[in-house]
Symmetry: C2
Subunit: 324 residues, 2 copies
Amino acid sequence: MIRIIVDMMGGDNGSAATKEAVTNFLKDHDDVEIIAVGNEEEIKDLSCEKIFSTDVSAMDSGVMEVLRKKDSSMVKAIRAVIEKEADAVVSCGSTGAYLSAATLILKKIPGVKRPALVTQFPRLSDGGFITVLDIGASNENTPEEIAQFAYMGSLYNKAVNGVDSPKVALLSNGSEEGKGSPEGKAAFELMSKDPKINFIGNLEGNAVLYGEADVLVSDGFTGNVFLKSSEGAVKGIGKVLKKGFTKNIFTKIGYLFAKGGLKEMKTRMDPKKVGGAMLIGVNAVTVKAHGNSDAFAFYNGIDVAYKLAKAKLIDSIKEGFAGE
Amino acid sequence: MIRIIVDMMGGDNGSAATKEAVTNFLKDHDDVEIIAVGNEEEIKDLSCEKIFSTDVSAMDSGVMEVLRKKDSSMVKAIRAVIEKEADAVVSCGSTGAYLSAATLILKKIPGVKRPALVTQFPRLSDGGFITVLDIGASNENTPEEIAQFAYMGSLYNKAVNGVDSPKVALLSNGSEEGKGSPEGKAAFELMSKDPKINFIGNLEGNAVLYGEADVLVSDGFTGNVFLKSSEGAVKGIGKVLKKGFTKNIFTKIGYLFAKGGLKEMKTRMDPKKVGGAMLIGVNAVTVKAHGNSDAFAFYNGIDVAYKLAKAKLIDSIKEGFAGE
């Protein structure tokens, strides 16, 4: 049985979306127990174990504000991981607050210097996914932390995508060795020498989608810029396309015919399919779903938690870092 | 008369592309003198002033290698800016070598701490362009350098796009104040206080294309990642779309009808339309065209140099930095 704690509150779309997701997820899986945390009035009709909370942390809550609100659904959900001996926790509340609260309450896995936010990005060359971290848990990282991210990302990739010795690339401003920030260059050295990392060198942002890397590693600031820039371009093109297609009667007819192709593109690039990011490096599977998750996206967020828990990712990180 | 030195060699497509571009540019403009630098055999039939060189720096030449080759078209072209009292120089040779040679030979404008690579990016909200710098002249920058980039970028934007008080945003991992790398945060402080910069705050990578900023400023490493990630996403989607459209007879018909819309999208996002990047901060307009420029792209590279020279960008930077 996989036990998942779900924070039902704090998303942009209220508890209606999270409730639909939880109900559907339980319907689809008979090896999952969900413990829902939220406002009694809103979640009492859910047919699973429940923990009631009175406070909701607003999406823009600061870290201290959330931690002070001891009865917030987010803090209660994270604490419930320990109390209920659960495998995973999922929330779509404020990212900064969630990361800090999870690190404080669940604590880092021994040997891990710093947790990272990890997600998957579509790899268009073969329809697979590339594991990307850190996408924003930190603002700056030491070379040692980046090398640890590479190892944690490899374990994540193996657990989720089943790749045996995932190829790790370092996000840089040039593909040659010797390119990159000072921290990046030092991380390059460390990863080259580390037998636990299948390091293949630097990768530029324009080569990620069509590259052969399984894991893209970076400091948290640069990784966040990479992710958001790519997302921005995808969204921008979608809008330009739609505008172009509605220009005249011929392009409108074209749009009707082209819908199939566009839909396939959207499915491939859809962040909702990915389901959210995980804070890797703490003592439980900690999934951060998008703040604007609808029921489908939140379902996928729970699914990420379910798969990572089932793959025993936390155990493999604990083993991997036991000697550090 | 605007005098432009053009390095005819060093691009991926040989001198055929650059010759076609120069010939067409001279045909279209009667206030331009071009001095072409290149191999005698290849460029002797060009009807403009010529300087002959014997060496070509390969695209992947290192800095020292280029500088040692004193008879290379690139070094000769940069030197010719001084000898011929030209306004601008254009090359599509190796970026690193070009930047170093231009900085060494043309020298920094007094007061400028560090030159930056600047380019324009399509702003989809209004069909305009956003000026982005530094996109890769440096691997790391001090807060003072970033603030200077913001000011140089403003002068560039005014010269090229005619915006009177360009809105400057700092590329960051969050829109709130207090987000960003330590250098970014310090640069935020400096720009907030600087009366020469119309600073509007942080901007995330996913908000650039639809933001209201005229200038996006960043350290060279992050700016390069931003640019390449966006380019990569655009290219990736193009490929997915094409694949999707050729899936079956209906999507193929759709593609025929949709071509108009797609073509408009491509035109808007086409890096060839932008023409290349400029090294801003040295004593001449120094344009780096894409290494794989065809005649159309290289024409636009010369056009960037022409417009910046005509707008007297170098004079306004010299004036602006006179007190520094």
